[in-house]
C-alpha cells in the first residue's frame, strides 16, 4: 500500500518536472540542429553557436546585460543593506511605513514600474540608455535585498551592538566587525537574488532602453518577433547552463562557506 502511494507521488512529481523542463529541453535540443527552423530536427551541428559568437552585436548585448546585472545588484545590495539597517533601527510608526513602502514596490507590476520610470526619466531629460536601465534595475532590486537582509538582522540579539560598544568598539567597528559579518549570508543571498532579477528583467527594461542600448531579454523579444532564429536557441542554452552553474555555486557557498558548519569534536564534560 505504502509503496503504491509513493509511486503515485513519484509519477506526479515526474510529470510536473517534465512539464516544467520540456520547453527548455526542446529549445536546447534544437540549438544543436543543423536546420534553420524548429519545425524538424536535422542532425547535429554547432553552426548556431558559431553564428552566435560571430554576432558581435549579440556579444555586446550579452556583456551589457551582465554588466548591468553586476552593477545593479552591487549597488542595490549596498543601498538595500543600509536600508534594512535603517528600517531595523527605525521607531514604530516609521518602521511599518518604510516596510510597507518597500513591499509595495515588490508587488507592484513591472509594467507600472517601467512606465513610471520612462515618464520620470523623460521628465528629467535623462537620455535613455545604459544609465536609465541601470538606475531602474537598482531601484527594483533594492526591495529584494531589503527583504533578504531584514530577517537576518531581526535574528540578531538586540544586545549584540551593546556588547560591541561595551568591549570598546566604535559605531563603525560595531557595524563592520559585528553586524555585517553576522548578516553576511543574508547579504550574499540578497545579491544573488538581485542579480537574477536584473538579468532576466524584461518589462521594466523594455520601457527604459533607448535606441542604442539593449539587454538580452529585450533583444531576444525583438528578434523573436521577426521569426525564430536558432541562434537564440544557442544563446538561451548558454544562459541556461550559466544560471545552472550559478545556482550550484550559490548552493555550495551557502552550504560550506560558513565556518560555523565545520564539524567539531564534542568534548566530554558539560556539553549537552
Amino acid at each position: 500500500m505504502k509503496k503504491h502511494h509513493w509511486s503515485w507521488s513519484a509519477i506526479y512529481l515526474t510529470f510536473v518536472f517534465i512539464i516544467l523542463y520540456a520547453p527548455i529541453v526542446y529549445l536546447v535540443v534544437f540549438s544543436f540542429s543543423s536546420g534553420k527552423t524548429m519545425e524538424r530536427y536535422r542532425g547535429f551541428s554547432l553552426q548556431h553557436y558559431a553564428d552566435l559568437f560571430a554576432d558581435s552585436r549579440m556579444i555586446t548585448i550579452v556583456i551589457n546585460t551582465l554588466l548591468v546585472a553586476f552593477l545593479a545588484s552591487l549597488l542595490a545590495t549596498i543601498i538595500g543593506t543600509l536600508g534594512a539597517l535603517a528600517i531595523k533601527d527605525a521607531r514604530r510608526p516609521w518602521k511599518n511605513s518604510l516596510l510597507s513602502l518597500n513591499n509595495v514596490l515588490m508587488v507592484s507590476p513591472d509594467v507600472i514600474i517601467g512606465a513610471s520610470f520612462l515618464i520620470f526619466f523623460t521628465m528629467l531629460g535623462v537620455r535613455l540608455g545604459f544609465v536609465s536601465v541601470l538606475l531602474s534595475h537598482v531601484a527594483f532590486c533594492i526591495p529584494i535585498v531589503v527583504l533578504m537582509v531584514l530577517p537576518k538582522l531581526n535574528e540578531l540579539s538586540p544586545t549584540l551592538v551593546d556588547a560591541a560598544y561595551d568591549l570598546g568598539a566604535t559605531r563603525w567597528q560595531a557595524l563592520t566587525r559585528v553586524i555585517l559579518p553576522a548578516i553576511a549570508p543574508g547579504i550574499l543571498a540578497g545579491y544573488f537574488m538581485a542579480f537574477t532579477y536584473s538579468l532576466d528583467d524584461f518589462a521594466v527594461t523594455f520601457f527604459v532602453t533607448g535606441n542604442g542600448f539593449s539587454t538580452l531579454s529585450v533583444e531576444i523579444y525583438s528578434r523573436a518577433r521577426q521569426g525564430i532564429d536558432l541562434e537564440i536557441n544557442a544563446l538561451s542554452t548558454l544562459m541556461f547552463i550559466a544560471s545552472l552553474l550559478l545556482v550550484i555555486g550559490y548552493y555550495i557557498i551557502s552550504k560550506h562557506g560558513g565556518r560555523r558548519h565545520r564539524i567539531v569534536v564534542v568534548r566530554e564534560g558539560d556539553a549537552q
Partner: protein, 370 residues
C-alpha cells in the same frame, strides 16, 4: 590576571541623585549610592523595578536624565560606553555568532590594539579562569548554554575591567547549573579582586553571592546592606516580603521592647518608636516553632502541611483567624490544635514609611545599650 593588585577600600563608583525617564515614563527616581572597590554587589528587584536601567547607566548604554555618575573619582555621564573601564555579561550572552570562542574573547583586546602575542596569552588566561581551557577553536553554536555563559564571562574579564556588570547572567541556566555558577562567580570575584555588580530578581541568588545587596523597587533603592542585615532587619513591608518568606502582621508599639500583635503583648528587641505607634511586625517562618497548646505563645489549628525535602511548610490559623506560615523539620497533623512559640529576638518591628537613614540612626541609637 589582576593578581598583585590588592582591592582598596575606596569608592569605585558613585551615583548622586540620579534619575532616568524614557519619554514620560520615570524609571529611576533620585537614586544615590556608592560602590566600594573589590566587592560583590547585587541589585535585587522584581522585573520593571529599574535595576537593569542602573546597570545600563553604569555601562553607558543609556544616559541619566538627571544627576551625576562618578567612576574612580571622575564624572562619567558623558563618557560613551566604549571608553568606560566597565564590561558587561549580558543576559542572553550576546556572543558574536560569526566568531569562534577565542575570537569572541579576543574581540575587546583587538579593538584596543593589544599586541597579538599578548592577546593570545590573555585569551588563554581568561578561558582558564572560566574553566574552558582548550575550547578556543570551538564555534559558539557548538557550545552548551552553560559554556556560552562562561565564554561571555571570559570575554568580559579578558579586558581587565575595574567593574564587571552581570545582567541576570544566570537566569537562562537550569537550577543545578545556576547554583554551581553562583559558587564559581563568587570564587572568580575573589580571585580577580575586582568589583562585581550583579543584577537579579532571584533573592536566593542575591543572598548566596553578595557582599552587599541593594533592593530596588519602583525606581528607588528600598534598602541596602549585607545579606544578613537585610534578611534579619528588613526596612519595610516590600523588603520583608521580597526577601525570603515572612509573616507580616500589623501591630502597635506599646513601649520600647514591647509590641502588641493580635491583641497580645510580646517582648521584642526593637526600640525608638513613639508610644502606641502603629507598626508592622515580621516573623520569619523558620523562627516559629510548633509546640503544645500549653507552651505556645499563640494557639491555633494546623490548616495545611507540605513536605519540601528539608522541612515541612505548615500553616496554622490562630484564634483571631490570622494565618501563620511555619517552616519546621518536625511533622505535625493537619487539624491538630497546636501552640506556636518564638523568642523576643525573632520579632522584627518595622515602622511605616521610615527612610533608610532614619532606620539606621534608630538602630544605632538603641543597639549601643545592648
Amino acid at each position: 590576571m589582576m593578581i598583585g593588585e590588592t582591592p582598596m577600600a575606596k569608592n569605585i563608583m558613585e551615583f548622586h541623585h540620579v534619575s532616568k525617564s524614557y519619554d514620560d515614563n520615570v524609571v529611576l527616581r533620585d537614586i544615590s549610592f556608592t560602590i566600594e572597590a573589590g566587592k560583590f554587589y547585587t541589585l535585587l528587584g522584581p522585573s520593571g523595578s529599574g535595576k537593569t536601567t542602573i546597570l545600563r547607566l553604569i555601562a553607558g548604554f543609556d544616559q541619566a536624565t538627571e544627576g551625576d555618575i562618578y567612576f574612580d573619582g571622575n564624572r562619567i555621564n558623558d563618557v560613551p560606553a566604549n571608553r568606560r573601564q566597565v564590561n558587561t555579561v549580558f543576559q542572553d550572552y550576546a556572543l558574536f555568532p560569526h566568531m569562534n570562542v577565542a575570537e569572541n574573547v579576543a574581540f575587546g583586546l583587538q579593538i584596543k590594539g593589544v599586541a597579538k602575542k599578548q592577546i593570545d596569552q590573555r585569551v588563554k588566561n581568561a578561558l582558564h579562569l572560566v574553566q574552558l581551557d582548550g575550547y578556543g577553536d570551538r564555534e559558539i553554536t557548538a557550545m552548551s548554554g552553560g559554556q556560552r555563559q562562561r565564554v561571555a564571562i571570559a570575554r568580559a574579564i579578558a579586558n581587565e575591567p575595574k567593574v564587571l556588570l552581570l545582567d541576570e547572567a544566570l537566569s537562562a541556566l537550569d537550577h543545578k547549573l545556576r547554583v554551581q555558577m553562583q559558587t564559581e562567580l563568587r570564587q572568580l570575584q575573589r580571585q580577580l579582586g575586582i568589583t562585581f555588580i550583579f543584577v537579579t530578581h532571584d533573592q536566593e541568588e542575591a543572598l548566596a553571592m553578595s557582599d552587599q545587596i541593594m533592593i530596588i523597587n519602583d525606581g528607588k533603592i528600598q534598602q541596602s546592606g549585607t545579606p544578613v542585615d537585610i534578611y534579619d532587619e528588613p526596612l519595610n513591608h516590600f523588603v520583608a516580603d521580597f526577601i525570603g518568606e515572612s509573616n507580616i502582621i500589623p501591630g502597635v508599639m506599646k513601649e520600647d521592647y514591647l509590641v502588641a500583635i493580635n491583641g497580645q503583648d510580646f517582648e521584642c528587641v526593637d526600640a525608638g518608636m513613639r508610644p502606641d505607634e502603629k507598626v508592622e511586625v515580621v516573623i520569619r517562618p523558620e523562627d516559629l516553632d510548633i509546640t503544645t497548646v500549653e507552651k505556645g505563645k499563640l494557639i491555633g489549628t494546623v490548616a495545611t502541611q507540605l513536605f519540601r525535602g528539608v522541612d515541612y511548610q505548615i500553616t496554622v490559623i490562630d484564634q483571631r483567624n490570622h494565618q501563620w506560615k511555619i517552616n519546621s523539620i518536625h511533622k505535625t497533623q493537619v487539624g491538630a490544635q497546636v501552640g506556636i512559640s518564638f523568642d523576643p529576638e525573632d520579632i522584627h518591628v518595622m515602622r511605616y514609611n521610615e527612610s533608610e537613614e532614619d532606620f539606621d540612626a534608630r538602630l544605632d541609637g538603641y543597639e549601643e545599650e545592648d
